[in-house]
């Protein structure tokens, strides 16, 4: 009789599997990279030309960090699309029948989504740190730690949506909408001060705002982050969607109550 695999082995297998999916998906990698470069060197450059005179600060620098945060958010959402496709193809039932717990499955997939997100954005972050004049190992590493926590939480949210929605068209649109709302209702691409007043309190509690503020404080010396508060928001978000993703997967497997 074969032994039950250890927790760490299971997590490592799941992460490896998601990384292999990444390697087998060169189109997505190329596409997101091109999208990022266009966002930065065309959109940000041109909008900065229009905005910077009335803002009194360099919008390009502000936006450059937000572009990396938006990119990792958008990449972390892909894990839910993978799960949905696996479910459509009947592969998810097989994966869930493997000898490890559903919580471990969620943890492994969310970490897999986060790790591949980091692999995507590391070159982008290096480029942004260089363009913004703060290319140092400490600054890049600090930023990647923030991205890792954000991406793990977003992966959990994406897994939760994949487990909740059954219709493919509805899932496609909902995931696009969730991605749009998560990025736009935040201080990733514009300062909170300029957002509609009614949305400012919502955006202030967004994990994407917290991640953007933390990374800006690392990369752009003149930026402000409330440090501990931003970390609390990020970790709360992570905890909530880890729990929800796990609960909905459990419901799918057992057809019963959450554990």
């Amino acid at each position: 009789m074969s032994e039950k695999p250890s927790t760490l082995s299971v997590i490592r297998w799941l992460i490896e599997r998601d990384l292999r999916t990444l390697v087998r998906s060169p189109f997505i990698l190329i596409n997101r990279t091109i999208f990022f470069l266009i966002q930065l060197f065309i959109f940000a450059f041109l909008v900065s030309k229009l905005a910077s005179p009335s803002l009194g600060f360099n919008y390009f620098d502000f936006y450059s960090v937000g572009a990396v945060v938006s990119t990792i958010t958008s990449i972390a959402f892909i894990i839910g699309e993978d799960l949905f496709e696996e479910e459509e193809l009947g592969l998810l039932d097989y994966l869930l029948s493997l000898p490890f717990g559903h919580s471990l499955f969620v943890i492994g997939r969310a970490l897999g989504g986060a790790v591949r997100g980091l692999i995507y954005v590391t070159p982008m972050m290096v480029l942004v740190a260089y363009v913004d004049g703060n290319l140092s190992p400490a600054a890049v590493t600090g930023s990647l730690v923030v991205f890792f926590v954000l991406a793990t939480g977003i992966s959990g949210l994406s897994i939760t949506l994949a487990m909740l929605i059954r219709n493919a068209n509805r899932f496609d649109i909902t995931i696009a909408l969730a991605e749009l709302a998560t990025v736009r209702v935040s201080a990733a691409i514009y300062p909170l001060l300029y957002m509609p007043k009614v949305l400012q309190p919502v955006a202030a509690y967004s994990p994407v705002t917290s991640a953007s503020d933390l990374v800006r404080a690392i990369i752009l010396p003149a930026s402000y982050s409330s440090g501990a508060y931003d970390w609390v928001i990020l970790l709360l978000f992570l905890g909530i969607f880890f729990g929800l993703g796990s609960a909905f997967l459990f419901r799918k497997i057992e057809g019963g109550k959450f554990d």
Partner: protein, 224 residues
Amino acid sequence: MIVIMFVNFMIDLGVSGLSLGAMIRNLGYSYFLYIAPGANLITATVAAFQSGRDVWRERIIQDTQQYLLTLPVAKNTFAVSRLFSGMLRTVVTTLPGTIVIALLYGLSFPFFLVGLLIMFVYSGAVAGLSIAAASMANSLELFATVRSTVQVYLSFFSTQFYPSNILPPAVADVSAFNPMTWAVQSFRALQAGGVNLPLLAPLSGLSLGLMAVGFLLYRRTMEF
């Protein structure tokens, strides 16, 4: 679908549009109103791409294309109908957004109808592109990649966000072959109080061309 698309539009317009509008105040005109039609056209892009997604699912996931081709409809008629149904669906899906833009621009009813026509013609370009992509892609990954590449091209290589006079020459050249450029400028012309045929003509030409590409590639999938 209509509700979700309208929420999508409202996020684009009510969050990004207002925020960017508040940030950019030195142009001599409202930047919010300048980019407003673009938000609806981006929603139309997402909606029109669903036509391609349907075709792709029928071919690859559901394997129902062969069954659909046994129905008593000529293949050419079937292919053209898919394109037109995608266009009509997009116009209906974006109708609430078009109404919002018409109200923001203070358009008269005849100009509102011209606005619907612009949405219809623009949808043809995107439906053509999406069905072309669906006819060629054998994996969801490739289809999704083409979809987002097209969205990037339509949004950032056009005059949706910035006036043509600040575009670098290479981007300006590319934007001339972008249906978004002509659609968004046609809408802005309505606000200025006229129907600008020199703007509508290139939009129609590009749409017809892209619909033809979509039609031909879709027809090809029916022969093998």
